[in-house]
Each structure stands twice: as structure tokens, then as C-alpha cells.
Amino acid sequence: MTEFGELKKGVFPTILFETHADASTEPFWEAARRDKLVAPKCTNCGTFRLPPSPFCFNCQTRDVLWTELPGTGTIHSFTVVRHPLHPGLADCCPYVSGTVELDGTQGAGARMLVNIIDVDPDTVRIGDRVEIVFEHVNDEMSTPRFRPISK
């Protein structure tokens, strides 16, 4: 055991245990508790925005339709963290963190920046297909990660 709990190679541990949610973000976490990925879609122009926020950057509309997404996506970019920034994290290195473009969001406006697990850090590539998996940490926080889509 470390100060970050039981560590597994490739999996960055949850370090923030509360969502600190407000009205703009709570629906995301509520769905996450049920293993669903939802994102706010502008009711005026259809643009998705993540992290969820009060205004549409495209048309400045406030109203959103919370929309369920398939939970799949494509690796847009990534890094392999090989050197632990904190000595207590040595056992989870190397791990992969990257930006994932979410399917169903019409491209721009909906990437997530996440830990990508169950991948070989030496062969993971931009363009690889991944799917979301939530770790239900407690009653409040469900940490989203992505893993390769199981064949």
C-alpha cells in the first residue's frame, strides 16, 4: 500500500474524491454513477461543450440538452508518463494519459482528457479506438478512464 492506495501499473489513482459539482456539471456525475456518459449539447446550435459550462462558446446560448453519448472515441493525442512526479506514484508508472475525441459529438467541442488504461505504452497510437470505463470510487465520484474497445 502507498499513500495513494493500492497502485496498479498503468492506472493513475483517483486523488480527488469529490466532484465539487455545480448546476453545470452535476448531470455528468449523476450519469457517471450509472455508467453512462452524457454531455451538454447546445439547444440552439448543437455544439457540445466539455467540461460542462454555463455558456455555449459558439453562440453564447445557455440552455443545453443533456445527451447520452455512446462512450466510445478515438485517441487524439497522448503521453506516456514514465517518471513519477511524486515518489509515491512509482508503482503506477508507466501510465498513459491523453485526449480522447468522443463519438457522437460532431468533432469539435467534446474531448476528454483522461487516463487510458489496459494499453501497452509502447504500442498505443493516436487514432486507436477506445471506450469509457468508470471507477465508482464512492457515492459521489466516478472516475472516468478509457480503455481499448474490446473486440
Binding site: I15, H20, P51, T79, L85, T99, L113, M141
Partner: protein
Amino acid sequence: MTIKDKAAIVGVGATPYFKRGQSYPESELSMACSAILAALDDAGLTIKDLDGFSIYSSSCDPATVGAELGVPEIRWATTTTSGGGGCAGALGVAAAAIDGGMATTVVTLMTLQQLNKRLGGSAVGGMLGYALMSEGGASPYGGGGIPPSAAFTANNGMLSPGHSFAQLTSRHMHLYGTKREHFAEVCISTRDNAIKRPTALRTEPLTLEDYFNARMISDPLCLFDYTMESDGAVAVITTSAERAKDLKQPPVLIMASAHGATGRWGPALFKYFQIPDDEFPSSGHRPVAKRIYEMAGITAADVDVALLYDHFSPMVIMQLEDYGFCPIGEGGPFVGDGNIRYATGSIPVNTHGGNLSEAYIIGMTHVREAVEQIRGTAINQVEGAEVALVTGGPAGSPVSGTLLRKA
């Protein structure tokens, strides 16, 4: 109407540069004061002349410095928002203050002492501190606490600036075929420049073999792609171009300056990840570059030496593209062909050794070198240098650029 050629840098002062944590028993305040007094002296001025602070990244507290040094009256005190990206832009703000009659003699500085804290890390300690600092600190929209957006990134393992810049770099490599050999050339050419400089902290030769033998930190970045962390202070004094004519040093005119970014560049990657893909693998500097060239009435071809903020070596390549020294996407081969080498390249870059090999004082060493190049007193002097480009960032918005020229 612009600030073009309205103000000039007339004094430069610095403390020695130290490896991280080795400046004790000096303090950030004492080093700031030493650098300010040295810069005033360099200009032939005294503390009685100083009436303005144009800083960035909250580099000092003008109230404290003003009291400590007995500044007769502070008439201007501003800082650009966000972090080191505002470095070069603070010079433009100083010029605007002077041109607008708000102040006459303005200092821009950075003072830095890292004992147990790390940049991108936290003095608070603990992993959560790291994660939240890498998001840009406590949000002004979070009531002073942890903002709702933090939960979307705190648990993703991206804790330090390097983890963020690695994302931009991976994408650049993917889209354009940029290679680690190109990053190595940035590191090696910069080290070669540092070797001749007594102020440089890293002066042992660096070879391609050394580079590829170095440990990987956050792919595709290895140890040598990262800036070092340093202690020290650098200050420069700006006054009106008219008054500069009568001072001790040859004036270095602020030809143009701008800070900012597209709105969607935003906080870049630190807590935001939606930069449109045409701008994602970039330095975020394109709008700033456009504005300073327009203000100055010149192009990249007129720049004699470029002092580009080099916290991570690939960001030098992206700045070369964004400032128009080569087409977008061709920065890798451009450096690979030797274009940024001192004495032989088409655009010598970081002739002082940069953040990578001289010292990291959050951009101010670049300003110091730009001034020395225009004065003609640099150690690695670019022959006949008339125009220098100096940049701040890539970082969260604002990033900045300034063109300096010989009077």
C-alpha cells in the same frame, strides 16, 4: 496609433543564476531588489526615477518592493494575467503606460526561488496540490476553492506542465512527421550556445547519443527536452524613446509588442482540452505574431535573432512555425537543416542558451539576451543584429511577443 518605437529598454540587471533552491540565504524579495537596482544603475538612473511596475505571473509585490527600496511614488502597477506567457507582453504594457503618460520609468522583472516547491507543483504539498496547481491554481470562479471543472482533469494523471506539452507534441509528430531528432537539435544547438557563457548552469557538451540515452520523462519528452529549474532575478527598465537618447546605454526600442491568444486557446491544456485541431499542435502564438509584425511593419525575414521561450524543446519548433520562420508543420526539418544554429543558421535562436541550458527565470533571460544582442554586447553576438524577437509562453492565454530594434 500604436506603441511602435515610443519606448525603449534602457537598463538590464540580474543576480547570478542558481540551480533550484541554491539561492539561499537570498530571498525572492532581496533578489528582486538587487536586480532592480542593478538595472537602474545600468541605465544611469536611481531608485528616485522609478515610478512603475509592469510585471507578469505576479512576479513580485510592487507594494513590498516599493516600501523596501523607498520608491518615491508608484504611479503604475500592473501584471498580465496567467503565468510566464505574459513575459514579453509586459514590456508592451510598460510602453503603453509610458506612451499614455501614466508613468515615466517602468520596471519589468522576474524573481524566482524554488526551495521545496516546484513549478507546476505546489507549495501545499501532496498529490492533489500538484493536480490542482497544474490546472492553473484555484479558479476565481470557484469561490476560492476547488472549481467544478477540476473534477474533469484532477484524476487523469496529468500533473505537470510537461504532461500537457507532451500532448501538443505528440499531435504535432502525428500530423507532420516531426521527430525526436528535431527536438534533439533544439537541445544540442541551445547547449552549444550556453557552453561559451559564464552565466550558464549547463555547459557540458551535449551529443545526439547523450540525448537518446537520456531517460524518458513523459513521452515523447525526455530529460533534455525539459527546462531546468533555477533561482535568480532579472529586471529591465523601460522609459520613453525620447528620454532614452540621453541615458547611459544605447536605447533598445520596443518596436512592437502584443499579448493574448484566440479565445479557444484558453488555458491551453492545463484544465481545458478543446482547442480546435488546426491550432492544437501549435504554440498558441499565431495571433500575437500577426499583430506584432503588423505593428512593426516587418516580416519574419527582417528578424535577425529570435529568443524563443523554451521550457520544452518542441515548443521552439512550434514557435518557429507560428512566427513565420517556416511553414506550419515544417518546423522539424527546418531545425534539422541547421537553421537555428548560431553563426551559421538563417535565424539564430536562443543565443544565450535558453531555459534549456542557461537558466530558467521564466522568460526574463530571453529579454536580457535580446537587449544585449541589439546593444551589440552579447557573448554569442549575431553580427549586425538590428531586430530581435523575444517571446513569452507557450502557456495558457495570454502568450506574448515583442520586437526590439536598434535606435
